[in-house]
């Protein structure tokens, strides 16, 4: 896997890896992620190329260039997905500085890497693809480590902190334009206990961030044309995964709490939004070239049952998203994958709660990835 530049038996080689993915999405109703209803859409592409070198015993340097297109997002703009200087003092203590992947749950840091998983779409209750610009990478640093606990297994821990610069999609001609969105700070961490049973790990992740947003309304009088809002988001996930030989089982449950307030033109505090969701996933590699998988995912946009100052959020089809998915992954050879995936969806939470959308709908995806 990958290319090695230099003597492969020397520790100071440059490892080069890359991938190219092209997908197709078709839904029976509702546009999801892209214009997926009607004739479907091919606007579902990714490409990445990374370099890693270890110039010193404990020091490594790496960088991944990445571009993607997903409907109106990405537009093949080349960017640094991650880059870092990593110094590993001991197995139980390493530090990394640069742009690092956001560790949150079991799979957030591979959300944009098709080859690294079985499903085309990871369970959207925990890993919504619409968040890819928001929550994949952090400019800042990471502290990580792995501590062996003898007969009790081991502890793997990672903590990241920093800021996120969010590229805005093209909004020309839209009634509302987000003129700036940024996350000035974010902290997240994950602690996983690798139990004495081989392949079984259990743990949790936490996340806290501040989001600032300025929204511009074209054609509105100047004193009311701009709105500024600030949100503080907290999240927590409980995770369990079992990997043994060719079997993978995983389940996660998450809750988020979003406390938002408008700062201008009129300072207002919005009702707190409490979201929740989870999934259970299973995959099994039947042979070297064939691996089916399935998951059931559910999410609620708002479970806030109300208080004296705020009414309860409506608990209807616009607030929920059930997703039963099945995937067939074919590893054609060591460099090429083809996947087929079907979803039965109930609810419209993943569509932003569009009230007129069909509440029971299907989604079909095909994706092929070449990698080395």
């Amino acid at each position: 896997m990958g290319w090695t530049l230099g003597d492969p038996e020397s520790p100071s080689t440059i490892d080069v890896h890359g991938f190219v993915s092209q997908g197709y999405i078709k839904s029976t109703a509702n546009d999801y992620l892209v214009d997926s209803s009607g004739g479907g859409s091919f606007e579902f592409s990714e490409a990445g190329l990374n370099f890693t070198v270890q110039p010193l015993d404990r020091l490594s340097i790496g960088m991944q260039l990445f571009a993607y297109n997903l409907g109106t997002s990405g537009n093949f703009t080349l960017r640094a997905d991650w880059f870092y200087l990593d110094y590993r003092f001991r197995d139980w203590l390493g530090i990394r500085a640069g742009r690092v992947k956001l560790v949150y749950g079991l799979y957030n840091d591979i959300s944009d890497i098709d080859a690294a998983r079985t499903p085309i779409l990871l369970p959207p209750s925990i890993y919504p693809l619409s968040n890819r610009d928001l929550l994949f990478g952090v400019q800042g640093g990471e502290v990580y480590g792995y501590a062996r606990l003898g007969s009790l297994g081991g502890l793997e821990y990672r903590a990241v902190g920093g800021a996120i610069d969010i590229p805005l999609p093209s909004q020309i001609g839209q009634a509302v334009e987000a003129s700036s969105v940024d996350i000035p700070y974010l902290v997240a961490g994950r602690l996983m206990w690798e139990t004495p049973l081989d392949g079984l790990r259990v743990g949790g992740s936490v996340l806290a961030l501040r989001l600032n947003e300025d929204v511009f309304f074209p054609g509105v009088p100047a004193d009311a044309a701009t709105e500024s809002a600030r949100a503080t988001l907290y999240g927590a996930i409980g995770s369990i995964e079992y990997v043994a030989h060719d079997l993978q089982l995983a389940a996660e449950y998450a809750q988020t709490r979003n406390e938002a307030r408008e700062l201008a033109p009129t300072p207002t505090r919005a009702p707190t939004v409490v979201g929740s969701g989870g999934y259970a996933l299973a995959t099994y590699r039947v042979s070297r070239w064939f691996q089916p998988g399935a998951y059931y995912s559910f999410s609620y946009a708002n479970r806030n049952l109300g208080s004296q100052s705020a009414p309860p959020a409506p608990q209807n089809d616009e607030n929920v998203q059930d997703d039963l998915a099945g995937t067939l992954r074919f590893d054609v050879n060591n460099f090429w994958i083809v996947k087929l995936e079907g979803h039965y969806m109930h609810g419209t939470e993943a569509l932003g709660g569009v009230p007129t959308a069909a509440t029971n709908w299907g989604l079909f995806l095909i994706k092929t990835t070449g990698y080395f």
Binding site: M1, G2, T4, P8, E9, P11, D15, H17, F19, G48, N50, T52, R58, G62, Q64, W82, F83, Y84, R88, R90, D91, V100, K101, D109, I110, I113, A115, A116, R117, Y146, R148, G154, E156, D198, G199, V243, A244, H245, D246, L247, L249, A280, A282, T283, Y284, R285, V286, Q291, A294, Y295, Y296, F298, D317, V320, D322, L324, D331, N334, Y344, H346
Partner: protein, 152 residues
Amino acid sequence: MSRSRANAAFSLLVFVLVFVYGAAVGTRVASGAEGFRVIVNLDNPMSSMDRRFLADVYLKKATRWPSDEAIRPVDLGPGSPARRTFSDEVLKRSVAAVKSYWQQKVFSGQGVPPPELDSDSEVVRFVLKNPGAVGYVSSSGNVAGVKIVAVR
């Protein structure tokens, strides 16, 4: 709503049971494959090694020997029978599952896999050349000049 959720959960349960059965069958099929011997450089004082420590080494969770020397694991190619046995018995995952593990690490910037060499003799040469190296060869491989360590 609750009925559709119950149906979905039942479907998933059936799927999981089928997978667990398949995993058990797959494990039985894997037994009886070619054996392997774990080797280190003659300068390495270790004569035996805990299996979980060896697994951590090959997954690069453990990167230092007790002497603080950097560990340099080396793999045989994915088609090697000894690699399949080593992967099943030490890492408790199939070769393909280990490849998937490294895909996650490689593309999220968390590390790169051990180098893969084509033959027992190349692995022995690598271990001879690198004091911190650890490798494995097929049980019939020539291991002159390196030390065999027991796996507990």
